[in-house]
């Protein structure tokens, strides 16, 4: 369904790497090893804000396209 052997292997590897990367970052966080808590939280918040703005822009664009289609003769 989701592609062949290569696709499965690639995603399984991605899962494994995500597990290691995620737990590694959280280990650093819990030990306060890097002392960049605010930088990290700021980066994550910025990404979240960008995501929300992108969604809003997409929604506005879709609405204006609908309006144009409806008003054209």
């Amino acid at each position: 369904m989701n592609g062949g052997m290569f696709n499965n292997t690639a995603y399984a590897a991605l899962g494994g790497v995500s597990a290691l990367a995620g737990s590694g970052v959280i280990s650093l966080c819990s030990q306060r090893s890097c002392n960049s808590c605010f930088a990290c939280i700021g980066a994550i918040s910025s990404l979240g804000a960008m995501f929300i703005v992108k969604k809003i822009i997409e929604k506005v664009q879709v609405k204006s396209e609908d309006y144009n289609v409806e008003t054209k003769p």
Binding site: A10, Y11, A19, L20, S30, K55
Partner: protein
Amino acid sequence: MKYTGISKAALNRRNFIILISALLFLPPLSLIPQFALEPNMCGQVCPKLFLIIPQGQDILGKMWVNIKSMWFGASLVAVIITVTLFFGRLWCGHICPVGGLPELIGRFIPEALKINFSWMNAPAFRYGYAGIFIFASFFGIGSIACKLCNFRVIPFLTGAPFEGAYAAYIGSSMGIAGLLTVLLTGVFAKGGRAYCNLLCPVGALDGMSNYLGTKFGFSKKLITDKTMCNGCGSCVSECIMWARKMDDHGKAETNRLSCLTCLRCAKVCSEGAIRYERGNV
């Protein structure tokens, strides 16, 4: 809409069971964990930690010690997998409060704000993640248990308004990371089940048990009559586990490693092409 045997009441019943289960398993009541003298789903109730294969000599002996110290969680997982083999995914799909609560809360979030992970090959990712979860210690690269663990974060979240220790954990760096995990892979994810689909080792075992149960005909499964499917894709967008996908001929089909048998797809199918029963079409 054609009759598929799936009523709205059946879907509401599932929501109700998840809420009851949250009351039974999660703080402040934690009625079921209290049988193991635990206040939440950590410690003896943990359903994940005993799965880890330790490093060094006498691996089986060490695993047995882990199973004994987490006897309640280990028994729970054994029961879950056995029940799934013969009766389908009752735990993951209908009872688990850790997966169910974010799904229910996520329904109040506008779809436009949801993150869509459905492009991912979720089963492969999940088993890659579960493989590292189980074997990381064995290969000497540390343990990822207790990190990004929703079985810890969600009980602590529901307990936070009632107990200072829970609130303090949520304020810690581990708690904030866990909270972000719950938000990104639960409440704000399409379907509200990205954690179950991508990161839960218990779900990975349960999905495999469901696959075997349906393959050998022990349990019921979703059967799509492809002669009736008109390829509208409404079941694909409704599926909370991204288990419904279109095949090469434009007909929908189910991935049984992911399907929770919540039956929402059967409810929305205008052609009545999806049935929940034993056998093949």
